[in-house]
């Protein structure tokens, strides 16, 4: 039996009828065709499905759509105009932080959250903060360098300072 839920998805209000068992990931991917969020395990371990719920990172694969009624959901597609996300994307490109690209959206969302909370990080702290996102291609070195480069750039940006002060 379907249940009506209303979600703000990437800034747009959506009301839909969902089965209780339907994950937020499947709702986004199959119904909304927002396919940047990938499924790698459906156990909450690999991190490929990481999105933002009310501004906080969460695993879309183990979040039921019905359980986030009224929440604000942001996927990678909805962060195109975000300054920190743009810095991260550029850094991932510059420092070769991706190979096959499958883990990349989850890496970007998790690192976005990490840098928002802890703008000044060394590489060890980055590795610890990103331990919840698995990659099979890169061996993580390029990812860590990318996030470090982004952190350095973000630390110098006026918006970061504003956020820290606000």
């Amino acid at each position: 039996m379907k249940i009506d839920v209303t979600l703000m998805i990437n800034g747009k209000r959506r009301t839909m009828s969902v089965e209780p068992r339907q994950s937020l990931a499947d709702l986004l991917r199959e119904d909304m065709r927002l396919t940047a969020t990938h499924l790698g395990c459906e156990q909450g371990v690999c991190g490929a499905c990481t999105i933002l719920i009310d501004g906080q990172p969460a695993r879309a694969c183990i979040t039921l759509g019905v359980a986030v009624d009224g929440a604000e959901i942001r996927t990678l597609e909805g962060l195109q105009d975000d300054e920190l996300m743009s810095i991260l994307k550029e850094s991932f490109h510059d420092k070769h932080g991706l190979q096959c690209g499958f883990c990349t959206p989850g890496m970007l969302i998790s690192s976005w959250d990490l840098l928002k909370r802890r703008p000044k990080l060394n590489e060890q702290e980055i590795r610890l903060g990103m331990s919840g996102n698995l990659c099979r291609c890169t061996g993580y070195q390029g990812i860590v360098r990318s996030i470090k480069a982004a952190a350095d750039k973000w630390a110098g940006s006026p918006s970061a300072r504003e956020e820290a002060e606000g």
């Binding site: 396919t35 790698g40 459906e42 990678l76 190979q99 096959c100 499958f102 590795r127 390029g142």
Partner: protein, 786 residues
């Protein structure tokens, strides 16, 4: 080409150009199999066997689902997958898309359930009741080899796919002359490939083209088309196979899967679009597995550790069916065939046995048999060094094929083309700072941990072509690669290639080759691959072949275009042909130039502007085979320092160094990252990854809660040192290197652990070297002292 000096161009061979393909992935716009939808599509959930071995008596389907469940009889027209080898005595196995007589491993395909959503399809599968006559499970090599063991394949006299032997030189002589004999027994745990994207297939009928379209997350779409057409009984002209964006391959996506055949056959039969997206549990249980090897080795050496002869037995647990096209025998055969490694070992006798068990079929996985062979010979070398009380690196180097002996034919008849193995090993030793570690080991660590250093060297056959594949006796010989280089009228270059990029950066590196030949900006080059209807017939991406093979073809095709562009450009500039230069997407003569766009426009749309006798259009195709098809041998030495915690058994990698030589590097940034990625997988093999099976043939690791791959806190920074000894036989001297990183880590890490534990008399002879196994050995060595 041999001796040609490479003129470095800013975006050409040797440049660390940033990747063309990044944009769509960073925007989240990549299209992987699970992102594709076709109108009217139904989702598939497979009914898979929950038992390892059993005769299928019946499968009961609830009435309301009768027309949503399909069995072997429903797709009887689809012929089974049969991998064959020309090797004498090889036993082929019929691998049907759905099994109907017996289930032969947990996960074996019994039926296809279809529904509007995957969840509903799983409901249907869960509602089916399978009645088995359960048979004892052949769950282990030892069980399989017992004379009275049940047969995985009933018609076989035993559970052996094949046994092969290599006999080079006088082993008796070596035995007698040896001052030292070292015997080692080793095991490698069974693996899954664990690409982040699992497998998947989407099939539908295109009525306008009258062809079946099959999307598959595969590494070799053309070859899949060939075998799939055979099995479906249709012409290849009526079948299109497309690999969309593929989220990692590593080998498990380099087989013709029964799931591919089942989905395609049923889609044909029902005339309905069907999609199967593998989930992680299916992947861990039923995707082609990897690495389960056992070794029994004897080295006969002189008093300095120089190896006079090597005796090896490798036994591989190859699971229930032969994977296509490689056959179950590939692992053992490859391992035995590269066991002498980078060493000059003239006497070598080996026995390679491939065993059938009730487990998921074993297939190629990054490094393939070489990882096991390296683990074997490199731990053996360390053991020989200990036996003669010498530093392992010294014994290693003294046994190596010296550079002056190149080209060198090994005891397994492999032709090592070029390289300086000793220099590479020395550089690795310097980089890990061996003397400093030996000094450090003299004093106890403040935190009580035990420090160890280990090294491992290998040589890797890459980009092997016709001669090698013929020797392996496979039904398809992966002898060449094609390329079609085609300009658009507005001056962009499209390269249609037969490899299949899935993370290796080929959409960039092949563009770099084009730049090298044409001077066209990399951003103006588009690489089209992965689609059997779009690209010329190619073999796909595996065996570290793509850069060498496809790069060679792209180079040849672009060289033809370069001449034509020079002719047309010279004509348009009214300049002598031998005085123009191609650079920056333009033909230049002094301070005059004409763009490739103008030339392309002339070629396609205004042939009146072309020189007399110049044909219109602007495209060229070529095929490429390396000068020698016996392979270009990349090689490396890995070195690592570890700290072993005797309180927890935990191993921390303190430092990891790779010195490698893959000939001429097209893009050093990408090469380094391929090495590091490979090392991460190798560390997984060494310390974390394993799918054990119980006595009922049940896999004991089926989710990420049980099966661990290294994360960002487990993989250290890896220092990569490059050497570039060009291959004499390939374009630009390129060698393949995609797998190398994953070959040496199990040996390097185990050697380091054994070095650390040597004072306690403990040796690890198995991967993964889990904390529990290390603790068990430590406790046993202490006699269980409290």
């Amino acid at each position: 080409m041999n001796g040609e000096s490479l003129k470095r161009k800013s975006q050409g061979v040797g440049a660390s150009v940033l990747r063309n393909e990044d944009r769509r992935y960073l925007e989240g716009k990549g299209e992987y199999l699970a992102d594709l939808q076709v109108p009217g599509m139904a989702e598939i959930a497979f009914l898979r066997s929950p038992v390892a071995h059993g005769r299928i008596r019946s499968i009961e389907v609830p009435e309301q689902y009768r027309d949503q469940v399909f069995f072997a009889s429903d797709i009887a027209f689809a012929k089974p997958i049969v991998a064959v080898s020309a090797a004498k005595g090889f036993r082929a196995s019929d691998y049907p898309p759905l099994t109907s007589d017996k289930a032969r491993f947990v996960g074996d395909l019994l039926a296809i359930c279809i529904a509007p959503t995957r969840a509903e399809a799983e409901d249907i599968a869960a509602a089916c009741i399978v009645d088995f006559d359960e048979l004892p499970a052949v769950w282990d090599i030892d069980v399989a080899l017992k004379p009275d063991s049940p047969r995985v394949h009933d018609a076989w006299p035993n559970n052996i796919y094949i046994e092969t032997r290599i006999q080079t030189g006088d082993l008796d002589g070596a035995r007698k002359a040896a001052a030292v004999t070292v015997h080692k027994r080793l095991r490698m745990g069974r693996h899954a490939g664990v690409s982040m994207e699992c497998r998947g297939v989407l099939a539908h009928y295109d009525r306008r083209m009258d062809e079946l379209v099959v999307y598959s997350s595969t590494q070799f779409p053309h070859v899949i088309r060939t075998i799939m057409a055979q099995c479906l009984g249709i012409s290849e002209a009526r079948l299109r196979v497309i690999a969309p964006d593929v989220g990692g391959g590593f080998g498990p996506k380099n087989n013709f899967q029964p799931e591919e055949l089942a989905v395609a056959a049923l889609s044909m039969k029902l005339n309905r679009p069907l999609r199967w997206v593998e989930d992680r549990r299916e992947h861990l249980i039923a995707s082609p597995h990897a690495r389960e090897h056992r070794y029994d080795l004897k080295a006969y050496a002189d008093s300095k550790g120089r190896i006079l002869g090597l005796e090896a037995e490798v036994v591989v647990d190859a699971g229930a069916y032969s994977v296509w096209p490689w056959t179950a025998s590939m692992e053992a055969g490859m391992s035995a065939g590269i066991m002498t490694g980078p060493y000059d070992i003239p006497v070598y006798h080996a026995r390679a046995v491939t065993v059938a068990t009730n487990k998921s079929p074993l297939g190629p996985y990054r490094g393939v048999g070489r990882s096991g062979a390296c683990f074997a010979i490199e731990t053996l070398i360390d053991a020989v060094a200990r036996a003669v009380d010498r530093e392992p690196i010294d014994v290693r180097i003294e046994n190596m094929v010296p550079p002056e002996a190149m080209p060198y034919t090994s005891a397994t008849h492999k032709l090592y083309d070029s390289g300086d193995y000793p220099q590479c090993a020395r550089r690795a030793k310097d980089a890990i700072d061996l003397p400093a570690i030996r000094a450090r080991q003299q004093k106890p660590e403040p935190d009580g941990r035990l420090i160890g250093v280990g090294m491992a060297s290998y040589t890797e056959q890459s980009a092997h072509g016709t001669a090698e594949w013929v020797a392996r006796g496979l039904p398809i010989v992966f002898g060449y690669e094609p390329a079609l280089a085609r300009f658009t009228p507005d001056g962009k270059l499209i390269l249609f290639v037969g490899i299949q990029n899935h993370g290796q950066g080929l959409e960039t590196t092949l563009a770099q080759i084009a730049h090298q030949e044409l001077g066209i900006p990399v951003a103006d080059v588009i690489v089209r691959h992965g689609d059997s209807s779009v690209s010329p017939y190619g073999m796909g991406t595996f065996a570290s072949r793509s850069m060498t093979m496809s790069g060679g073809a792209v180079s040849a095709a672009c060289a033809i275009l370069a001449k034509k562009i020079a002719r047309i450009g010279a004509h348009l500039l009214q300049a002598p042909q031998d005085m123009v230069a191609l650079a920056d997407g333009r033909v230049n003569f002094g301070d005059q130039s004409v763009s490739f766009a103008a030339i392309a426009e002339a070629a396609f749309l205004h042939p009146e502007r072309l020189p007399v006798d110049e044909e219109p259009a602007l495209e060229a195709n070529a095929v490429y085979q390396p000068g020698r098809s016996t392979g270009a041998f990349s090689y490396a030495t890995h070195a690592c320092t570890v700290a072993v915690d005797p309180g927890t058994g935990h191993v921390e990698i303190l430092d990891y160094v790779v010195c490698h030589d893959c000939g001429t590097m097209v893009n050093p940034m990408i090469v380094e990252a391929q090495v590091v990625g490979g090392v991460a997988q190798g560390l997984g093999t060494a310390l974390y990854e394993e799918i054990p099976y119980d006595e009922n043939g049940q896999p004991l690791a089926s989710t990420f809660l049980d099966y661990t791959i290294p994360g960002s806190t487990e993989v250290p920074d890896v220092r990569v040192l490059h050497m570039e000894t060009p291959s004499p036989h390939t374009r630009f001297g390129i060698k393949g290197m995609g797998e190398g990183g994953a070959i040496a880590p199990p040996a390097a890490v185990i050697n380091a652990i054994n070095d650390a534990l040597r004072p306690l008399g403990v040796e690890i002879d198995q991967t993964p070297a889990t904390a529990e196994r290390i603790l068990d050995k430590l406790i046993a060595a202490q006699g269980g002292r409290a």
